[in-house]
């Protein structure tokens, strides 16, 4: 589904990603862990198409297409969803309008008719219940004045609305209470099918109790320095990152 080969990316001529290789197949769940500043969010942003970062080397194919040929909105419509580590507040744009535009733009991309207002509201109601999102939140401007946890929950709500093929969740678990954590995990697990895949970026092994990953990768200084099964997460929880860093030959 997604194939990343030797990906290098810069910001303001500072290299952040220094040769990432990763293969994600349909049906898989990958977890990415790693210390602060190692480049996890950068990787997620580059995959979603953030122009702030310049790709200097490497190739990414998504469903057989060159990812870098696609605009951010095309990537989204082709099924890539990025759950933001820091969701953006957009004062004056209502959640309803935002979501309706997003859903219908994606439908248009796929050659489908736009949803009628009533169908859209029905869909919204369903998904709100699914992720137990407070009804009042969708009557407000996008993320405006939402608490940290509410913002994260809103990301999952959006994911549920858009039903992506590849979900990249950047620390969606940070700042969540235990109930919310369960809901986030549920969201990911519901999405799980032989046709979909997820990349879950997290600092906590705790999340992986709910979302059982097929692979765990450690990102350090712009490179994946170790990959393993879910047991790697336990090891990290126990020992931290130092033992891995030491093994690096610079």
């Amino acid at each position: 589904m997604l194939s990343i080969k030797n990906l290098h990316a810069n910001i303001e001529s500072k290299e952040i990603l220094k040769g990432i290789n990763l293969e994600v197949k349909a049906g898989e769940v990958h977890a990415i862990m790693g210390p602060n500043g190692s480049g996890k969010s950068t990787l997620a942003s580059v995959l979603a198409g953030r122009e702030l970062f310049t790709v200097t080397e490497g190739k990414v194919t998504y469903q057989g297409k060159d990812l870098f040929e696609l605009s951010p909105e095309e990537r989204a419509s082709e099924g890539i969803f990025l759950g933001f580590q820091y969701p953006i507040e957009i004062p004056g744009v209502s959640m309803v309008n935002f979501m309706k535009t997003a859903v219908n733009e994606q439908r248009k991309h796929r050659g489908l008719e736009p949803l009628s207002s009533s169908d859209f509201l029905k869909l919204m109601r369903e998904k709100k219940e699914l992720v137990e999102l407070d009804s009042n939140l969708t009557n407000r401007s996008v993320n405006e004045g939402f608490s940290g946890g509410e913002k994260k929950r809103n990301e999952i709500f959006q994911m549920a609305m858009l039903e992506p093929k590849l979900a990249i969740l950047d620390e969606t678990d940070s700042g969540l209470d235990i109930d919310a954590l369960r809901i986030v995990a549920n969201g990911v697990n519901k999405l799980k099918s032989p046709y979909n895949a997820s990349i879950v970026i997290t600092h906590y092994q705790r999340l992986l109790d709910y979302i059982v990953p097929d692979f765990v990768h450690v990102l350090y200084d712009g490179k994946i320095i170790r990959s393993g099964g879910k047991e790697l997460a336990f090891e990290l929880e126990e020992k931290g990152y130092d033992w891995l860093k030491k093994g690096i030959v610079v």
């Binding site: 605009s71 909105e73 990537r75 989204a76 933001f84 957009i90 004062p91 004056g92 733009e105 959006q158």
Partner: protein, 457 residues
Amino acid sequence: MSSEIIHSEIKNKLLDLYQNNHEVLKNGSPDYINKIREKAIERFRELGLPDKKNENYKYTDLKKEFDNGYKTYLSPKNIKFDMKEIFSCDVPDLNTKVILLLNGWYYDRENLLTELPGGAIIGSFQKASEIYPELVKKHFAQYADIENEGSVALNTAFVKDGIFLFVPKGVIIEKPIQIINVLMDEEEGFTQHRNLYILEENSQASIVVCDHTLSASNFLTNSVAEFYVGQNAHLDYSRIQNEHNGSKQISHLFFHQERDSNVTANTISLHGGLIRNNISVHLDGEGCENNTYGLYLTDKGQHIDNHVFIDHAKPHCISNQLFKGVLDDFATGAFNGKILVRRDAQKTQAYQANNNILLTDDADIKTRPQLEIYADDVKCSHGATVGQLDENALFYMRARGINKKEAKLLLMYAFAHEIIQKIKVPALKDRITDLVEKRLRGELSRCNFCQMHCCNS
């Protein structure tokens, strides 16, 4: 040096125009008006028109704009048009009464004055000055600044027709009154309508004024409106400026507020080649509230200059100014907001904000707050921003599948929304929402048809 000569020529041309048409101007106006007319032309002779050397006109050279050789309208021109045809649009048939000025003259020559429920009167200013001399005399030229503003003196010297509204004590006009200023001619035209709105104590009215051009020729408008808002009276004034880009307009609004009165004035500028709005508010009684809002959406070579002056003359008044603008292409603009708090005006609250979004590197806005505070117990604030669309918000929307153009529109619309939601009349709010959306999408062009009902419910 040479430009001085040209400029004084413009002044002389206008003085000549006055001299040559002295009789026409005086005919049909009562003596008390003609007396003021004489004084005004003398003042104009001294003041002339401001150019960029004048601090208040630093970004808009008025002198230049008047030097155009356009024809003036010293009497009503008989242009017949089928109202139905012009107003046929997406809104069903015309059923509410719309007040029309054509090139500055009251259009309905058969019914120059109309009585509204409760004894309110709307109609032609010229007719009113003849029929209600005491009323007009009491207020006409009392609030407009003829002393310092050359273009106001000029308008006063040439005063003929315009809108007259009188709302007597305690009368509440429920339905918004819609006024349309239509400019239409084969030739280039120069109009100077003069308007007088009198709201007596405890009265209420809401007025919607739309400025439109219905033919492609160039126009210049130099209009003045005076508003007397009596004790505890409420006025809700909305203005939609939507002339084509070959037109230029200088608009002066003078609001005089008595004790406990409340005025909200909302100016929405959509199209127009050059727009200079002078809005002047005199809070002359305790407990007044004034809200002066504006939204300007400009592109191409448009130029917009909003100039607001709020005079806190008495204690315990509140004023709020909020102006927001989006400038695209190589559009230019200026905002100047002056707040004067006089020594006696204790417990004043005066707030001002001007926020701008520039969509290109060539678009430009100058924004300048001016606070002059002579009282010590006051709350004042001001803030101005000039920025671009929020890149993070754009990316967030695009990452959800919303294309870049649509994402930009959503953000611009959100930005404008803050002003639109201040509009109190729901039907008008919907209509303006629609107009603004169309404007931002670039679908609202100069249009002889659909957009006319800017405000009909």
